[in-house]
């Protein structure tokens, strides 16, 4: 139970960091951490199917798509 509390606090900290960072690449990595911790929480909630989908899509493909889009546009928030 204490592990779940720590993970959820970390997830909220990462989400706040994604809101604060001016460097968009750092914000994308922070949102990737949110997805990764969400995948672990899905596993704790007895949903292994959803955990697999979230880990492979939310943490890998979404981050890759964001990074490619950042490369095609500008990296820093004005």
């Amino acid at each position: 139970m204490i592990l779940v509390v720590i993970l959820i606090v970390l997830m909220l900290v990462a989400a706040v960091a994604a809101a604060i960072f001016k460097d968009l690449l750092s914000a994308v990595i922070a949102s990737c951490i949110v997805s990764l911790i969400a995948a672990i929480l899905f596993y704790f909630l007895q949903a292994p199917d959803v955990a697999m989908a979230e880990a492979s899509i939310g943490a890998a493909l979404v981050t890759a798509v964001f990074v490619i889009a950042l490369k095609k546009s500008s990296r820093y928030e004005e």
Binding site: L12, A15, A18, L24
Partner: protein, 119 residues
């Protein structure tokens, strides 16, 4: 205090939804807004799965004989969220491609600088 610990999943989802909503409302960079959308998406998915959970439950898979059917968690939210995640990445990629086109056309991603988007 025990109420908070019992509902810790709900609190996490609540926080994610609010943070995502704040990013969408307050930020002016288009890619930041899309990051907010993805965080909001994760929060809603987590909320749906947390509602379907049963205390001490097992995953809804009869992987070996002798598993009790009584303690299994609800499979319907899991099936809904499973497809929602996959749709989410496709919609996110579509939004990012629109952002790339806007950047190519206007040279900026700041919504307040883009002509005709004065809010």
């Amino acid at each position: 205090m025990t109420f908070l610990v019992d509902h810790i999943y709900y609190i996490g989802c609540f926080g994610l939804i609010l943070i995502g909503m704040y990013i969408i409302l307050a930020k002016s960079n288009l890619i930041k807004v899309i990051i907010g959308l993805s965080i909001l998406d994760t929060g809603v998915n987590l909320l749906l799965i947390a509602i379907g959970y049963i205390n001490g439950g097992t995953a809804p898979i009869f992987s070996r004989p002798g598993i009790e059917a009584n303690g299994m968690v609800d499979p319907v939210p899991q099936a809904l969220v499973l497809t929602a995640i996959v749709i989410g990445v496709a919609v996110l990629a579509l939004a990012l491609s629109l952002a790339i086109r806007l950047y190519r056309h206007y040279g900026t991603l700041n919504l307040r600088k883009i002509k005709g988007q004065k809010w």
